[in-house]
Amino acid sequence: MDITTSLLSMQAEASLAVILVVMLLADLIIREPGHRKLQILGCILMAVQLALNVVPAEGEAFGGMYRSTELASVVKTVLAAGTLLVFMQAGEWLGREDTRGKAGEFYLLTLSTLLGMFLMVSAGSFMLFYIGLELASIPMACLVAFDKYRHHSAEAGAKFILSSMFSSALMLYGLSLLYGTCGTMYFADMPALLAGTPLQVMAMVFFFAGLGFKVSLVPFHMWTPDVYQGAPTAVAGYLSVISKGAAAFAMAAVLLKVFGGMVHDWSLLLSVVTVLTITVGNVFAVLQTDLKRFMAYSSISQAGYIVLGALAGSGQGMASLVYYVIIYVAANLAVFGIIGTVEQHTGGKTGRSAYAGLYQTNPRLAFGMTLALFSLAGIPPFAGFFSKFFVFAAAFHAGHWLVVFLALVNTIISLYYYLLVVKAMYITPSDSPVPPFRADGLTRAGLLVCVAGVVVTGLVSGLYGLLSGAALH
């Protein structure tokens, strides 16, 4: 197989790389102030990317280094759709005086991280996996530190890059020990050589710890709240859904494909970590008053639910994980989009008290936020209920009934703190509520898509069937 055929079989990555180059050239050519034109171009290009890759395709290239399954292809489409939504919501923030001049860099860095996640999701060898992971996290640090003149952003950037380096060093140490015992890094050859010797178990734990940082599982979650609070809101939203979703899927895929034979070694580890993640995330979320920090803890606990799908260790589990990620992308981006637009129109307010009386002044925003929060909490008519249901069903099917029970108890706790925000918006009286404002067109369209996703995906029952078909394929 020559290089051209190899590149052609990496369809999604190839088209994204072309988009990256087009964006780079456009950033050079379009004269300032070009932030609006760049945003529209970015949205159009991402829509083209979606249209080109809407049909799930399998592909293998470079002698098995790259190997994309149908399910991975679905995940890549979901990630691209989420990125499109983030682009639509980022306009107001990028139009601000101090970020206007470097709007192009935002799109470039975001697209590079997306390319990294694509490679990570469809790696066939730990070498490509590592390159993809780093391509996804180095530009992400630049994005977190994007608001150069606000020292919260710089502090968050420093915390992010240092913890990300630390975690990849841990992961690499695990990989080096695996290489020492197997002599190969290819996913296809490794399962036969992994017998669960003590050294291999230690290597697996190091690898798991390294990826646990990226997915922000407890006890590797310490960076998450600080980074989400300090990062620009659009970036925090991107980090909480796209980056987390990609890392969680990649982790589940590696645990199943490579460490499939050591399932007894990792299933106990994963169940303890899952329960801790959900519980600790919930307990700390109750205490938060800043909405960005609150959403950080909420996303930690959601990460626990996502990896519950991996715990099932089956095709059904993978399908429920991807389904969960789809719903989570829609709901979480709606919340972050609303936090972002309120922040831009109130001069940077993100505290929960600022939302008091939002229903009187901006009823539609308050309603959208309520629907998204209900979906995150898992209240029946909305999609979040079904995604939680499928994940629980998959884990229960695999016999992890205690973990499912504890997760269920936590769902009820989470309802309390999501409702605190709803209460602030609808019931708490306020002397100075957020004044009525009208967000710009693309932001409103993006929020509408998110909220529609939350409501409609719950009612369209065929989606999960399609996913599990792709998983078993």
Partner: protein, 105 residues
Amino acid sequence: MEIEIHVIHYLVISTVMMFCGIYGFFTRKNLLALLISVELMLNAVNVNFAVFNRYLFPDRLEGHFFSLFGIAVAAAETAVAIAIIINVYRNVKQVLTDDITDLKG
């Protein structure tokens, strides 16, 4: 008397490097010292890859390539990290972790 050097000798060094790095990462207060600790960890990994390849699988090259990639990626990470640390310094005139605590709770 000649001493023969085996895999185990290299592994002792790389393990010591790795855990010195981890220890440093948790105890140091200066952002640059944290960065140096992480570099120590990454280099321990590179030593591991090179040694495993040289002694256990001499007919293949994967480990050597992995350490090459590791070195290149570590350089990119360090460049970004130092840029961010400079930015932190410009904002708060400090690179000690005890003084960079605006975000907490």
